[in-house]
Amino acid sequence: MTMRTFHYAGVAEINVTLGLPRIIELVDARKNPSTPMMTIYLKEEYSNDREKSSDVAWAIESTHLHHIGDITTNVSEMKIIVNIEPKALEMRKMTPGEVAMALEVAIGLPVELVDHTLTTAPEEVSYRGLLQLAKKIRNVKLKGIDEIKRVVIRRESDEYILYTEGSALSKILPIPGVDPTRTRTNNIIEMADVLGIETARQSIIDEIMATLREQGLDVDIRHIMLVADIMTCDGEVKQIGRHGISGEKASVLARAAFEVTVNHLLDSGVRGEIDELDGVTENVIVGQPVKLGTGNVKLVARK
């Protein structure tokens, strides 16, 4: 399998892990994929309306103070001055007053608002205090959902779809306008937590197939379904490997032959486990025919 990492085929603006690293990430069932991303579909009355869909987008994108204006420190007067850009504010449907309020609540200090300029000063009059406060102000959250770093709106086959950098499915679904039946994230664990194991299974299939297709590899979906089914058949998403399926196999010998040989043998002793020698590896290890094909048929010769 030769797989390259490349930009996302659909949305050039959002970087998404692809190729072999992405496949490994998926079968590892990582809690946090390296590039979490959501595809948010909107309800009908929103999805055809550019205005409404961009309202949703601005509502969920996390907006910090530094997004909407310049922050400067005035050392001589020990003041911090925020110059709000009216255009940025207008896009986000906020007023300077709201910003001032949010800032006041966040830092717990009085904020002075004149036109589009906010001014505040640290409690303790020191150079360090000033810098610290400036830093804090920069990252004051004004609006949106923390995890969502960026939202891109795209029109695809007659509707507007939001793509987000970062993922927080449980916070997105209740938002008015969002179509919870189609909205998804590329984080399978999150899918399992929010929408259940069946949905996680389906998204494993979708994600792997999409990754393979993007690489131009034609693989029958049934193979991927089998992988997804074995990952989810115990009711939770289990990784393919030592901490998942391979580590929980029925056979001691099969586990020992895979990884961490000695520990599996010791543990099996503690538990008093019995290896029924049903699988392939076990029978190869003890040197007898595997129970498949001809080996599956029991035929006893009469003496």
């Binding site: 891109v152 089998l226 089914d229 001691v252 032959a257 040989t261 503690v270």
Partner: protein, 900 residues
């Protein structure tokens, strides 16, 4: 001879061995650390005691009376003076100490809690889930207890110091005390802690008796100097016995407690390293040379360890390995085997009335002349080697019931394999063809499934020895059976390289082919009669290339598709296509179009796919055989070569390419100027720097492509390289572009080359130069040659490629191993369900429709529909098709039964 029913190991139970059992299975107690006496004879009750088995030829085992090689070896034991901790269980002992009462040994949970957890454990076991979670809560909960609910004893927290020290309020717990305490744990409590009291009593984790492995698993070797060199395990055992003795002497002499404790520690160290010589916190025991000893754990672990190295993968008999080379005259289902190999590998014939004459012939020829025999096995089971001297004698003696180990001969079924065996087509069954010389020969058309080439690749050959094995090989693993890949249901075997070029040359040009030439082209195929000629010239009949190719197509084949070389014009002119890229086959006759990769190539062949699915696998094999032979004949007839001057372009083209490149450079300069002037418009979601880089990359990429186009056009469609690239035989237009046009941008991690000196890539450039050539754009072509700086950038890009492949192969190798391990035990049952070894259902119907991916038309249910269409009016074979349809639709039907 009566065939006994083969014995089969039904199950293996794991558990601890109790000291009692250790003594029972031991054949002798080992008390002395010495191995051999002065005469080189094993000392009684020493580590090499002959009761433990024998390794020296000539000696007999005192336990079983067998010789070296026959005796499996027998365990002995060492009585340890004081108990020591088994290092593998150090952590479990800690958990147990914290979970139980320090006085009465009971688990520090209320009876109710115990029943609750026990039930939980049993529920988990029933559904086959891991009980680890429950057991861990048991340990966590019981540790919280401050006072024993049974005897009221105040509990003291246990501190654990790696590797084997347990402290109770700074007072060290001796293994003997721990052992005494563990003996008090009731069986029921042991079960709550996830242990099986019948096979794993906690006190057995502290060793009082140490088993001495048989000599056969630690053989000593005699060096050239006559000196004996002992196995690492023997060395370790010597250490243990010595310390054990000293310990005993000191204890009996009433030595002070401090010395006793020191010796105890030392004994613990030696037993620890005997079990595992890589425990963190314990200095590994070393050989005199300083090499760490390989003790028990080290023997089991890792890729070369017992499990992965000797048990999961074993060396086998009846196998051969040698270099491979191509032979287009073989069928794809054959393999050429050197005569020397064929004389070494044998197949056992059971002599019956029907084959006794054959058997006699083989034996008569002896081991030296080819289809001969190496051994006969007489009726009483004795093996007799066939020699030139005794062969005639044996021929006379042969009777039914004997066995003859005859040489491999033409037509035998063998398994052929090339590593890495990544998919099932990496091992396929071939028919033997015994040939002179020393390499395995195979048809180049089967290279793709094996991923083989002939630059020194070696392959393995295995000879199945039983009738069942041969049947399985033939029915399941035969090459014919593997023409289609289960990955996507398309052909994976097919023409490559010259096969494609040859057939392309044959079918693309309308050339008159007269009878002698036509016969020569078709000489190697199974065609018996030539078709109606295309015309006559001077009274002599002639054919065209398309007709010649048509002759190897089966009758009744209908197919239309766009060839590989099709340029996907806006409006396809179909039969009128200028480049003859629209293939039309009617009733087995090629009417239009050229044969190229899309038609007969591996992975892509439309014709092969169709023939396989409609005419069966044998016809498919025959088509590949014929097509590849015809291809080779054709290319030999027409001649085909590629040399350095084939990548020369005309002077005008050179000028044109130069213009294109300098225009592109100009545009890049403009972009940079716009960037530094701050006029560049930022792309959404990208920074200004990124935007510039993307735009420059785009510009230069476009420039390279148009340079390639110019070069390609200039070389023309008759250029060998163009023919190969267009027909899909080898190489691509990109290769050509780089050879004749312009090599293009060299990239590291998908970006232009940035690093090197401060602010520049090489000292040849000014700091901050963002221009094309300063950042690794190679203007030259491979033909003209690269300038010094270009060459350097090219090396940077090339190196990244090499590193990437190295990293990726190891990554995907591990992924493959994990995938295989996770899925290998799943099996489709007769009821259509997919289950694991426990019988747990993973899928109710394989793939939710029960279809084999290999049999579907590139994964659709098209094949079923096609069969229905094909045969709905067919009355002759109606019954058989009904059966076929039924078989195909059964999975869905059974589902309907369930839900009505």
């Amino acid at each position: 001879m009566i065939h006994s029913v083969p014995k089969r190991i039904g199950q293996i139970k794991f558990g601890f061995i109790s000291p009692k059992e250790f003594r029972k299975m031991s054949v002798t107690r080992v008390i002395t650390a010495d191995t051999y006496d002065d005469d080189g004879f094993p000392i009684d009750m020493g580590l090499m005691d002959t009761r433990l088995g024998v390794i020296d030829p000539g000696l007999r085992c005192k336990t079983c009376g067998q010789r070296a090689g026959e005796c499996p070896g027998h365990f002995g034991h060492i009585e340890l003076v004081a108990p020591v901790i088994h290092i593998g269980f150090a952590k479990l002992i800690r958990k147990l100490l914290r979970a139980i009462c320090r006085s009465c040994g009971q688990l520090l949970l209320t009876p109710n809690e115990k029943t609750k957890y026990l039930e939980e454990i049993r529920a988990k076991v029933e559904i086959g889930h891991s009980i680890d979670d429950v057991v861990n809560t048991v340990f966590k909960e019981s540790r919280k207890a401050k006072k024993c609910p049974y005897c009221g004893e105040e509990q003291i927290d246990i501190k654990f110091e790696k590797p084997t020290t347990y402290l109770e309020d700074k007072h060290k717990l001796m293994p003997a005390d721990i052992r005494d305490l563990f003996e008090k744990i009731p069986d029921d409590d042991v079960e709550v802690m996830g242990m099986d009291p019948a096979s794993a009593r906690p006190e057995w984790m502290l060793l009082t008796v140490l088993p001495v492995p048989p000599v056969t698993m630690r053989p000593s070797i005699t060096l050239e100097s006559g000196q004996r060199s002992e196995d690492d395990i023997t060395h370790k055992l010597v250490d243990i016995i010595r310390i054990n003795q000293r310990f005993q002497e000191n204890r009996e002499a009433g030595a002070p407690q401090l010395i006793i404790e020191d010796l105890w520690e030392l004994l613990q160290y030696h037993v620890t390293t005997f079990i595992d010589n890589a425990v963190s916190g314990v200095p590994p025991a070393r050989h005199r040379s300083g090499r760490p000893l390989k003790t028990l754990s080290q023997r089991l672990k890792g890729k070369e360890g017992r499990f992965r190295g000797s048990l999961s993968g074993k060396r086998v008999n009846f196998s051969a390995r040698t270099v491979i080379s191509p032979d287009p005259n073989l069928s794809i289902s054959e393999v050429g085997v050197p005569e020397a190999t064929a004389k070494e590998l044998t197949i056992t014939m059971n002599v019956t009335q029907h084959n006794i004459n054959d058997a006699k012939e083989y034996v008569a020829r002896g081991p030296e002349r080819h289809p001969g025999a190496n051994y006969v096995i007489r009726g009483d089971g004795r093996r007799v080697k066939v020699t030139d001297k005794n062969s005639l004698e044996l021929v006379e003696a042969i009777e039914t019931g004997w066995k003859v180990e005859r040489h491999l001969k033409d037509g035998d079924i063998v398994l052929f394999n090339r590593q890495p065996s990544l998919h099932r087509m990496s091992i396929m069954a071939h028919e033997v063809k015994v040939l002179p010389n020393k390499t395995f020969r195979l048809n180049p058309a089967v290279c793709p499934p094996y991923n083989a080439d002939f630059d020194g690749d070696e392959m393995n050959l295995h000879v199945p020895q039983t009738e069942e094995a041969r049947a399985e090989a033939k029915i399941l693993m035969h090459v014919e059976h593997n023409i289609l890949s289960p990955r996507f249901g398309g052909p994976i075997i097919g023409g490559i390289h010259d096969h494609i070029s040859g057939l392309y040359l044959l079918t693309n040009r309308d050339k008159k082919i007269y009878k002698p030439e036509a016969l020569e082209l078709l000489k190697k195929s199974s065609i018996k009669e030539l078709m109606e000629p295309a015309g006559y010239e001077n009274g002599k009949p002639y054919w065209n290339g398309k007709q010649i190719f048509s002759m190897i197509l089966p009758d009744g084949l209908h197919l239309t598709f766009q060839a590989e070389m099709c340029e996907h014009c806006e409006e396809c002119t179909k039969g009128e296509c200028e480049r003859d890229a629209y293939v039309v086959i009617e009733d087995g006759i090629l009417k239009h179009g050229s044969i190229d990769e899309k038609a007969i190539g591996a992975f892509k062949s439309k014709i092969l796919d169709k023939i396989y699915k409609e005419y069966g696998e044998e016809n498919a094999r025959m088509f590949v055989d014929d097509a590849t032979r015809l291809g080779i004949r054709a290319i030999m007839r027409m001649g085909f070569s590629f040399g350095i001057d084939d990548e020369d372009v005309t002077a005008e083209a050179d000028v044109q390419i130069g213009e294109v490149l300098s225009e592109a450079e100009e545009r890049v300069t403009k972009l940079i100027m716009a960037y530094s002037a701050g006029e560049l418009e930022q792309l959404p979601g990208r920074s200004l720097d990124e935007t510039l880089e993307m735009k420059i990359m785009q510009e230069l990429g476009r420039a390279r492509d148009s340079a390639g186009d110019i070069a390609g056009r200039n070389l023309g469609l008759s250029n060998s390289a163009v023919i190969m690239a267009q027909s899909g035989a080898r190489g691509s237009m990109l290769n050509l572009t780089q050879m004749a046009g312009c090599v293009g941008q060299q990239a590291v991690r998908g970006e232009r080359i940035q690093r090197g000196y401060v602010g520049r890539t090489l000292p040849h450039y000014e700091t901050g130069d963002l221009g094309a050539d300063a950042r690794g754009f190679v203007k030259s072509s491979y033909k003209t040659g690269l300038s010094a700086t270009e060459y350097f950038f090219h090396a940077i890009g090339g190196r990244e490629g090499l590193v990437d492949t190295a990293v990726r192969t190891s990554q995907s190798g591990y992924l493959q191993r994990r995938m295989v391990n996770a899925l290998q035990d799943l099996e489709v049952q007769y009821d259509g369900t997919v289950r694991d070894t426990r019988g747990m259902i993973v899928q109710f119907i394989y793939g939710e429709d029960g279809l084999d991916p290999m049999k579907g038309d590139f994964g659709t249910r098209e094949s079923i529909r096609r069969i229905i269409n094909l045969h709905s009016n067919d009355t002759v074979n109606h019954a058989s098709h009904r059966a076929k349809l039924l078989a195909l639709s059964r999975p869905n039907q059974s589902e309907n039964q369930v839900h009505r």
